[in-house]
Symmetry: C2
Subunit: 542 residues, 2 copies
């Protein structure tokens, strides 16, 4: 690792604009924006993926490797990534900082407390929760309906026991009521922080959150509770983007990490906009597959922040193709060309979908050690049949050298003419926005709304929120709302069970099926094998 | 403020041993200890206080001001202070970083997230809690009794609604059981971190925490749950002391902040021991009045860490004297010499008590703007009648210049012969340890143990914990367990309601009366007036 000041120098940031967190992490001062805001933007590349097998496709890995390779090609490049959440790192999945020769460093610190951003969001979230119950306790002047408080509590930990709880038991402990915890990355504050342009924007958005309803069923906000300014104070540093580096010394802005189902799953607007002023290329990623992640990146993040992506990279793996071709997880390491052919239907649709946003697509075939040459060749030829640019990506094994072909194709794609546009118009009725996504992208035949969902839809319209984009919360494994419908299903119906109003983030969350916003730990949590090694380094996380 | 590297230089710490958190905060590398451990220790001065009026006595203020004044007298001095907890700062009390011309800086950051230590403790605490319930969920191999889990959850927020809750409701969400949250500073992990000498010690202590009992009523520990190493990983940086500065550029180590009732209420052993190697004088404080704070400082912290204090400073105020003389809070600003005389009984006893530990005592009369000269003169003459050294402290108004007399007297006291010893011997039976404190220090006539307390006492003895010191949890307002018995009550009985085993921290918590480990917010929380000001600074906290 190089001192973070040296990494900052690569993109012309001086020490006076850095706030150091140790030797290898720094926050970027808001003052930088004033100095660079009139520069032209670099090119924005989105890394997204096909529907994944349960082990993931390697989006973060590819984002890091591609940014390293672009730098090697002489393009000044910054990667813009999400912050890992501590809870899941200690639960099922281990770290979220890439791997092999395409990692961000210091990986262990980024995976754990990092610069404290997620802790700050937890604090702001729970301060608001405490102030709500305290308001009720001290007389409830706002006439909040204790049965209609929708603001839960938050913790950055996988703790299923806190999903559904009763609070305020015992004498003198406030109103007894049902409540629950969500993981902090699912907090609307996380989504808000990631969509805010600056502190004023953050303050305004926080003030609009709907925390519950009063006895007349009118929404109540943090502004009513007088919590907004204190929340801003707690979030003051969390709003500043974090600078780290890749294994090859490429600058990386790691900032914000909202859930990819009930939120939009992209790193911060502040970080992305700043990176675009500092670099020729900014490579960023979105959560889950392109049906969820890319759609939200385009229709929520790019729309809200006025960003225009120059190209999309679709990460695919032979394993995910076979999985989508019907092969169980345990057999994914075996060569199976028929399953590859069957599973390619999934890739084809994602390519078509991405093209429908008006931007060029480059397919990155992320190589695994268990892949065979025949598999690689077949996948590449199927892509080429579609007229899609495709490159074998070997960044895990070779770092930037394994991504040069991909990088060259991305540069060419980004230089080619494009006409980016959103999937739907702001002014379309909410119901039609949802139907557009379902029919045009998912290729379903229609949408069925539950009574509760239809009711919230009407409420949102009455509240004048028709112009909000929608944020789909759907299984990442299928285009449909059934995780077992792999490949390229069609003519299915999407069932909307519930709609939640994220009035501060500025979108409507459309839930299909039940949604867990607080993960549980597996039987053997990753935490059991995490330790401090002999030399003081952290082992068992990556 | 000076750059923190310049402050570090004052005590011969070089940049390579600093981990910067912004420009004005740094963590001190564990490598420093190896370089300085063979040096002689500086002199350790404890700042404690008489029983307070509800507004507090100014211990932190005096600790900071005295350390500045000692520096001005040419003594190389470091102050060693506790970290403020975020929750109370946003609740009742505002910040905890001194005030006027005796503050630690950057006050707002120290009062909020600081370097993330308390967040790390929250994470480690809640990881353990999640792993306990997850263990039960996945088959409960250890046969944990869900009705006898004593490890609660923790949050650094004043949130009375979380004191008593039911968790695990709903399908698939684990064992339904009663639970509750404590504020993080009340976590045994905080006490452990503050008593640990190094990472190995921390690991060993964490492994010994009693989290609950199995169906055979045998204690279960984090080691059984396989949580210890992951907890150490989460606490890796929190274990490193933090360096900041006072308004006059005196170095301050701010590290750890355990509750002063169910824990020992002192800053970290690591920080104090390091400071003693780096400075001629180390000025530190303990929680509440001397009956609780000083006793625990001597009998727990000094005993466990092998520290020998050279002198104690007893902070008194005319206001607290009048309060102890029976004057209500609203009238404390009025001159009342009779009440001063009556309240002095409280001071007299504290002086006697502190002397009984074998060290010299200097009384610091912390001056308030509402005090009269007649009041000051009377208090000083009463102290002198007792043969006690006394100095008027005006550090709030004048910084170090207001503390020079106090500092000179502290230097003289620390140079005078002393024979520090603990109040009771390690090997005394637990019951007698408690009786010794009650009779010798509090001047009560005896102790009554509840059935539950007596039962836990027997259990602790069976578990071989007789050698543990005791940690008294008592009202800070009275020598007795009744907060309204002000002044110098005697012949009262102390009622022990419960005893808790802090097997990792290494003490037995003796509860007198009921104890709230999760504060609530007042009707108008401090959070309502906290905001980011025009220039980006935080207002409303101090």
């Amino acid at each position: 690792m190089k001192p973070i000041a040296d990494i900052a120098k690569l993109v012309d940031i001086t020490e006076e604009d850095l706030e150091f967190y140790g030797k290898y992490k720094a926050k970027l001062s808001p003052d930088i924006w004033e100095k660079v805001k009139d520069r032209p933007d670099g090119k924005l590349i989105l890394v997204t993926a096909m529907n994944p097998n349960p082990a993931g496709a390697g989006k973060t890995l590819t984002t890091i490797g591609l940014s390293q390779a672009l730098n090697k090609l002489g393009k000044r490049t910054i990667a813009a990534l999400r912050e890992p959440s501590l809870g899941p790192c200690l639960g099922m999945k281990g770290g979220a900082t890439g791997s092999g020769n395409a990692q961000i460093l210091p990986a262990d610190e980024i995976n754990l407390h990092f610069t404290g951003d997620i802790h700050a969001i937890t604090s702001a979230h729970n301060l608001l929760a405490a102030m709500i119950d305290n308001h009720i306790y001290h007389g409830n002047k706002l006439r909040l309906n204790p049965k209609k408080i929708v603001w839960k509590r938050a913790m950055d930990m996988n703790d299923r026991s806190l999903r559904s709880i009763v609070i305020g038991l015992g004498d003198g402990n406030g109103q007894t009521r049902e409540d629950g915890f969500m993981i902090t990355t699912a907090s609307e504050i996380m989504a808000i922080l990631c969509l805010s342009e600056n502190m004023d924007d953050l303050r305004e958005r926080l003030g609009k959150i709907i925390i519950g309803y009063d006895l007349d069923d009118k929404p109540v906000t943090p502004a009513d509770i007088k919590a907004v300014d204190a929340m801003c104070v707690l979030l003051k540093d969390a709003l500043k983007p974090n600078l780290v580096q890749t294994t090859e010394g490429t600058p990386v802005i790691v900032h914000g990490g909202p859930f990819a189902n009930i939120a939009h799953g992209c790193s911060s607007v502040i970080g992305t906009r700043l990176a675009l002023k500092l670099a020729d290329f900014v490579v960023t990623e979105a959560g889950f597959g392109a049906d969820l992640g890319a759609e939200k990146f385009f229709d929520i993040k790019c729309r809200k922040a006025g960003l225009t992506p120059s190209a999309a990279v679709l990460v695919i793996t032979a394993r995910a193709l076979k999985y989508n071709g019907g092969i169980p997880v345990a057999q994914l390491h075996e060569e199976n060309l028929d399953a590859l052919r069957a599973g390619f239907a999934n890739v084809r649709r994602h390519i078509e979908n991405l093209r429908s946003f008006g931007i060029p697509v480059v397919v990155a075939l992320n190589s695994f050690a268990t892949d065979t040459e025949a598999e690689h060749n077949l996948v590449i030829s199927m892509c080429e049949e579609l007229g899609a640019e495709v490159a074998l990506s070997q960044v895990w094994a070779k770092g930037s050298d394994g991504g040069l072909d991909l990088a060259a194709k991305v540069v060419a794609a980004a230089d080619s003419p494009s006409s980016f546009d959103y999937l739907y118009d702001d002014q379309l009725p909410i119901r039609e926005k949802i139907e557009t996504i379902v029919k045009k992208l998912y290729r379903g035949s229609g949408v069925i709304f539950s009574k509760a969902a239809a009711q919230t839809l009407r409420k949102a319209e009455e509240m004048g929120l028709t112009h909000f984009p929608v944020c789909m919360a759907k299984t990442p494994y299928s285009f449909s709302d059934q995780p077992e419908q792999l490949g390229a299903p069609s003519d299915f119906t999407i069932h909307v069970s519930e709609i939640r109003i994220s009035a501060g983030a500025g979108f409507l969350v459309v839930l299909t099926g039940s949604l867990v916003t607080m993960p549980g730990l597996p039987k053997v949590p990753a935490a059991e094998s995490v330790a401090i090694g002999e030399g003081g380094q952290i082992i068992g996380l990556a």
